[in-house]
Subunit: 491 residues, 2 copies
């Protein structure tokens, strides 16, 4: 048996190595905004250069440190890596915001904006987005994109191997279309394929935005944030800035496309057939609910006389797609929409999109399992002696998966309630508390009440609390609870 | 095998007989308010006499109808009986309110007040309770009491045999203190013993209120509504009318006592020892949470300067006990309390009291199971290969019970969300929608926003919707869904 302290040393060294590697990669990503500063001759370059210098040196130094020949991490160390990584990522992403001379950000502002970026929330404390340097605007979109990438890695490589989250439900539990292909045997390969799809989707999205009338810079920024379902925009009015039906339709369609499980795209491309997508139980439920919500929104906007029919159709479709999938781009006059429509859309952000996408919230497959389980519960009560099995498509869903889905649902709502209640205690009204927590915890990014146009109206304490809410939502709560639990640190 | 149509005839005849019997019992209960009308020389006697005439004739006629020698109801017919019974009960209870000349109630008002009574909600549409006839005031308290009795019958006789609800979890699944005694073999006997405890508790409560300074009439009415956790008062200001610390303390203590599983009292009396109560897992969780909520409320009221310490203690203890257990008596100035305290108390009404009491909400044992299940979920993620079993006290909780608890939790919150959203669509603000739905669905009876002092401010449509919410909450949703499901009507 291995010496105990040697084991701990190796473990520490392995985690240190992984984190250094991630810091290094992040530092490289800063080269693009630095280049943009040069190109657009913006003075914000100092902020990026300092951040680059710090992260590059730490990253390189950590990577150089001698790595144990054979890294042996126990399964549960993955949780530690995940939490440490996202905390580091939060701190790094906030640095340029804090160092920038024009933004005048407090520490709370910078951390909020950074976490909002990397968790693909897209809630912003900047009040005048239009007056902000292009390099900063691009950097924000890139944070969304990297955060989305991070979540895909998490979902495939880490969560999957740890048996947490929807990807476990999906990738290893569901046979049918997915199990046959088994994606690829090695997780690293799987991740690579999913990134490829992510990048291709971004290129398609950017081209579509460009063709719909955006300039190249805006098209690229909006596409980076849209495929990540992040929702940072380059304008204060978000997509409402353009007053263009075509652009809103593109935004709505790509929100929905980005909310589909990327693994389905991979299989569809492999097989050259859409059958795998169209037969997928989660996808069908997702699209049905999305269409119902959109239809309801469109009808409400039309019949309450908020818009004429074509405007109701465009705005209603775009906004419901953007909010349900937790993208969070918006048209500029949603504060005039009826309250019950806005609350429905805010509530739909808990629903989110499919697992294996970058959406936030509780995610479609969990609601599908909860819904099917409740149906069975009814049948069970009518015929107490019968034995019913929960199936998705042709596959049985095991008790363990059902339990983990129920568990997440309970914990998620508990924390949502807790965060809302803290907001009330901080003095916000119920409407603002609900909207702000839905926006942050579901990584959706559109607030309500005091946060409908900017989150800069929040107090510093509220910003800290909502920063935590974004991380809790993004990591689906359990990893954070685990790392802070006593059982985790017991040998 | 029995002839199919004969079977259906027998079934119908059996259900008809049971319902007639219940109508008959209800008609007899009207004799007390009729006597009060005579005693106090009130003109409202006509309303009660007409209701008595109608229900007595229908009840007697139905009872006289020849009953099949051998009633063979299938287990699932119980759901039908339950739903028909509560609908009938709702209609009957509303009649005196509708017929009364002084109340000027619309149909929606009368149905709301009646359902509020029988579901032990205690939300009232009467704006000037103090000016209302004594017979009516007593009748309301009696509705609470009968409704509580109805729920005990439901929980022991019907739900238990059908395997639904917490009593199943408790009475048949938990050994330890409860299983040894097994209460009594026959369900009818069990129910009788529990009623006895119910009546004794009411007598103790009435005496305490009387000793604390109430007059005899008020003491009886408040005790009937308190042991049923109904909360109808004889004054507009509820217990706030008396400005008496003693009365509020009695109200708080008896709210908590009425929220304990009555079966525990039965065992304690049988054994002449409090051990069974104090060792009960649900009771311990219930009291701990109640004390935490009370402590928090008291501290908040004190430190925000709402009251001096002794007032904060009395009002805070009384109001939190009354709201958490879904009793719903109140002090008269809760509209001045900080929002976050009120929202906490409204949220705590979802928690409720123990099963086997007359409380509303989701009930303590379900939250205990959800909490323990989430703890296990954490451990399971840390040690994926270990097998964990859920235990309450020394007993294993089966997967079926866990699933039914999760199922109810999901469906309950879904419907709570739905009802809130309908209230928003009817034009109410978020605060009023949340408070009103919490008050009605959890059978608690204290609203917020527009309904904080009376529910008479609601529109007729809102009253209908909230009447449904009270019934959905009281019957724990599933029986209603079952009776309206297709599988139920399939042979
Ligand atoms: K977002
Ligand atoms: K009540």
């Amino acid at each position: 048996m291995m010496n105990h302290s040697t084991y701990h040393e190796e473990r520490f060294s392995a985690i240190f190595y992984i984190c250094s590697y991630l810091v290094f990669i992040f530092s490289l990503s800063l080269l693009i905004p630095i280049a943009l500063c040069v190109f657009y001759q913006e003075k914000d370059i100092t902020a990026f250069l300092i951040t680059f210098a710090i992260t590059f040196s730490i990253g390189s130094f950590g990577k150089l440190r001698k790595r144990s020949a054979d890294i042996r991490l126990r399964g549960r160390d993955g949780f530690l890596v995940v939490v440490i990584f996202w905390v580091l990522f939060s701190l790094m992403s906030a640095m340029p915001f804090l160092l920038d001379q024009h933004l005048h950000f407090s520490v709370a502002d910078a951390i909020f904006e950074g976490i909002s970026g990397i968790t693909t929330t897209g809630a912003s404390v900047i009040s005048h987005v239009d007056g902000t340097a292009k390099a900063i605007l691009y950097y924000r979109a890139q944070l969304n994109f990297l955060g989305g990438l991070g979540i895909i890695v998490l979902a495939t490589a880490v969560f999957n191997s740890l048996g947490i989250g929807g990807s476990k439900v999906y990738l290893s539990e569901t046979p049918g279309p997915l199990k046959e292909d088994k994606l690829t045997p090695k997780l690293a390969d799987t991740a690579k394929h999913l990134w490829l799809i992510y990048v291709v989707l971004a290129i398609l999205c950017a081209s579509s935005f460009y063709l719909a009338g955006m300039n190249v810079f805006d098209a690229i920024c909006h596409s980076l944030s849209t495929v990540a379902l992040g929702g940072f925009s380059t304008h204060s009015a978000s997509l409402g800035y353009y007053h263009s039906d075509a652009i809103e339709l593109v935004g709505g369609v790509f929100s929905l496309l980005a909310g589909v499980n990327f693994a389905l795209y991979f299989i569809a491309v492999n097989r050259r057939s859409l059958k795998a997508i169209l037969q997928d139980a989660e996808f069908r439920f997702y699209i049905s609910v999305a269409l119902c919500v959109a239809l309801f929104t469109i009808c409400s906007l039309y019949f309450t006389g908020t818009y004429d029919f074509s405007q109701a159709f465009v705005h209603g479709f775009f906004q419901s797609a953007s909010m349900m999938t937790d993208n969070g781009l918006m048209t500029n006059d949603i504060n005039k929409w009826p309250t019950y429509v806005m609350i429905l859309l805010l509530a739909s952000s808990f629903f989110g999109g499919c697992v294996g996408s970058t959406c936030g919230g509780i995610k479609v497959i969990r609601f599908l399992i909860l819904y099917k389980r409740s149906e069975l519960e009814l049948k069970q009560l009518i015929n107490p002696r019968a034995v019913y099995l929960l199936k998705l498509g042709n596959t049985r869903v095991s008790e363990r998966v059902t339990n983990s889905v129920y568990g997440l649902f309970f914990i998620y709502l508990l924390f949502a309630g807790l965060f809302m209640w803290i907001m009330l205690a901080l003095g916000y009204d119920l409407k603002s508390a609900f909207g702000t927590v839905a926006a942050c915890m579901n990584n959706m990014g559109i607030g309500y009440g005091v946060t409908i146009s900017t989150f800069g109206t929040l107090s510093d304490s509220a910003k800290w609390v909502m920063s935590a809410a974004m991380l809790f939502g993004r990591l689906e709560i359990f990893p954070i609870l685990i790392v802070f639990s006593r059982s985790f640190w017991r040998p």
